[in-house]
Symmetry: C2
Subunit: 242 residues, 2 copies
C-alpha cells in the first residue's frame, strides 16, 4: 500500500527489442556454459529484466534456445563471392575465400561453441543447425571439386572426402584455438595461405597425362554429392518448440 515509485526495473521496450536483447544475452551465456550450465535467472539478469518477463517472451528455456539456434542460421554473403571465383575457375581464390571467411571474418566466436554444445547435448535442433549452416559449405565444395575433376584440373579423388578434408583443416584450426585455447603459432593470414596451398597441391593433377581417361569414372558407388539443390530451405518453425 505504501508503495509509490519503488520499482524501476527496465524501462519499457517494444516486444521485438526486448526479445532481441534476451536472445543476445542468452546466446552469450549458452555459448559460454552450455544449455544445462546456464540458468534462466542468469539470463534474465544479464538481459536486465526479471525472470518472469523472460518467460512471457519464451514459454520455456528450451524454446529460447531454439530461437537462438534458428536465428543464427542465416547463410552468409560468402557464397556469392565464392560463386564468382568459381565461375572463373580461380581455385586458389575459391578456397582462400572460404578459409578466410571461416577463420577471421564471419566467425562469430560464440557460434562454434554453441554448435558444439548443442550437438553434444543432443539438442534436437542441432541437426537442422548443422545442416543449414555448415554442411552447405562442403556440399557446395564437393560439387565444385567434382566439376574441376571433370575438367581435368584436379586429380580424381572422392570429392566429398576432399571437401570434408578442407573444411576439417579449417574447423579444427578454430577448435584448437577457440575451444582448447592453444595459442596461435602464426598469423591467421599465414594459416589460411598454408592450408589452401597444402590442400590445392594435393588436389592438382600431377601430370597432364591424367587428363584423359576421366570418363571411366572408376568411383563406382559414388553416393550423392551432386550439389544440394535447395541448399537452404526456410528456417523451420521456431517460436514454440517444446
Amino acid at each position: 500500500m505504501m508503495r509509490s515509485s519503488k520499482k524501476v526495473g527496465a524501462q519499457k521496450s517494444s516486444g521485438r527489442e526486448r526479445q532481441a536483447s534476451i536472445i543476445a544475452a542468452a546466446a552469450a551465456l549458452f555459448a559460454q556454459k552450455g544449455f544445462n550450465g546456464t540458468t534462466t535467472r542468469e539470463i534474465a539478469k544479464t538481459a536486465g529484466i526479471s525472470e518472469a518477463l523472460l518467460f512471457k517472451h519464451f514459454p520455456t528455456k528450451r524454446a529460447l534456445y531454439a530461437a537462438i539456434l534458428a536465428e543464427k542460421v542465416q547463410l552468409s554473403e560468402l557464397l556469392a563471392a565464392v560463386q564468382e571465383a568459381a565461375e572463373k575457375r580461380d581455385d586458389g581464390r575459391v578456397f582462400t575465400l572460404i578459409a578466410k571467411f571461416r577463420i577471421h571474418r564471419g566467425a562469430d566466436p560464440s557460434l562454434l561453441r554453441l554448435l558444439l554444445f548443442s550437438a553434444l547435448e543432443g539438442h534436437e535442433l542441432s541437426d537442422m543447425f548443422f545442416r543449414n549452416r555448415h554442411r552447405v559449405f562442403y556440399e557446395y565444395l564437393a560439387g565444385y571439386i567434382a566439376r574441376r575433376m571433370e575438367e581435368g584440373a584436379f586429380r580424381r579423388v572422392d570429392p566429398l572426402l576432399a571437401a570434408q578434408s578442407f573444411i576439417g583443416m579449417i574447423v579444427y584450426h578454430r577448435i584448437l584455438h577457440e575451444i582448447f585455447r592453444v595459442p596461435p603459432h602464426c598469423s591467421p593470414e599465414d594459416a589460411v595461405a598454408g592450408y589452401v596451398d597444402l590442400f590445392l597441391a594435393g588436389l592438382r593433377s600431377r601430370s597432364a597425362a591424367a587428363k584423359r581417361g576421366i570418363r571411366k569414372a572408376r568411383e563406382g558407388a559414388r553416393p550423392g554429392y551432386l550439389l544440394p539443390s535447395g541448399a537452404m530451405g526456410r528456417p523451420p518453425g521456431v517460436g514454440r518448440v517444446k
Copy 2:
C-alpha cells in the same frame, strides 16, 4: 523396527573394484550428457550402488570427473609402431597408421565426447588432458615432417601447420560422424586412404629439382616450428579457467 533382511543392495566389493566400476559408469554418462547434464543419482544407479557410497569414494562430483579424465590420459602403443615406420621413411605407412588408429582402432567413442565436453565446460583438467593425449600426435608429426623436409622428400611448408591439417582432417571426420551423426558415405578404410593420399600428395616435392637448394631455406621469417624440442615439455601457460 520391523526390518529383518530387507536391504540387499550390491554385494561387497573391494574398494578398488568398486572405484573402477563407478568410474566406468560415470565416464559413460559424462560422455553422453556432459558434466552438468549428469546427476550423481544416475551415476550411482548405473554403478548399482547408493548415492551415499559414491560420495564415500569421491568427495565431490567434480573429483569423480577429474579421476576419469586423469585415468584416460594414458598414451597408446601407437607411437612405437609409428616410430618404426618413421625410421624407414615410409611416409605412407606413418600417416596411414595414425589415421587408422584414430579412426577405427583406439577410438574410444566416448573419449572424443568427453574431451569436447570438458573443453567446452572449461574444466581445469581439460588442458592437461588435451595436451597429453592429443597434442603429442601433431607435435610428433610436425617433427617428422620437418625432418622429411630437410631430406628433400617434402616441399617446404610450415610443418606444424601441416601436422595440424592432417590431424584436423581426421578429427573432423570423427566429429562429423560421432558428434553430428552424419552417416558415413564410404568405408573407414577408403576414408583413411583418401585422407592420406590427399595429404601426402600435397606435401611431396613436385619435382626432383627442388631437392637441392634446400639449404637456402628461403622461408625468411619462419616462426618457431623447429621440432618441439622436448616434444611434450611443460605446457605453455594456458591453465586459467575456473
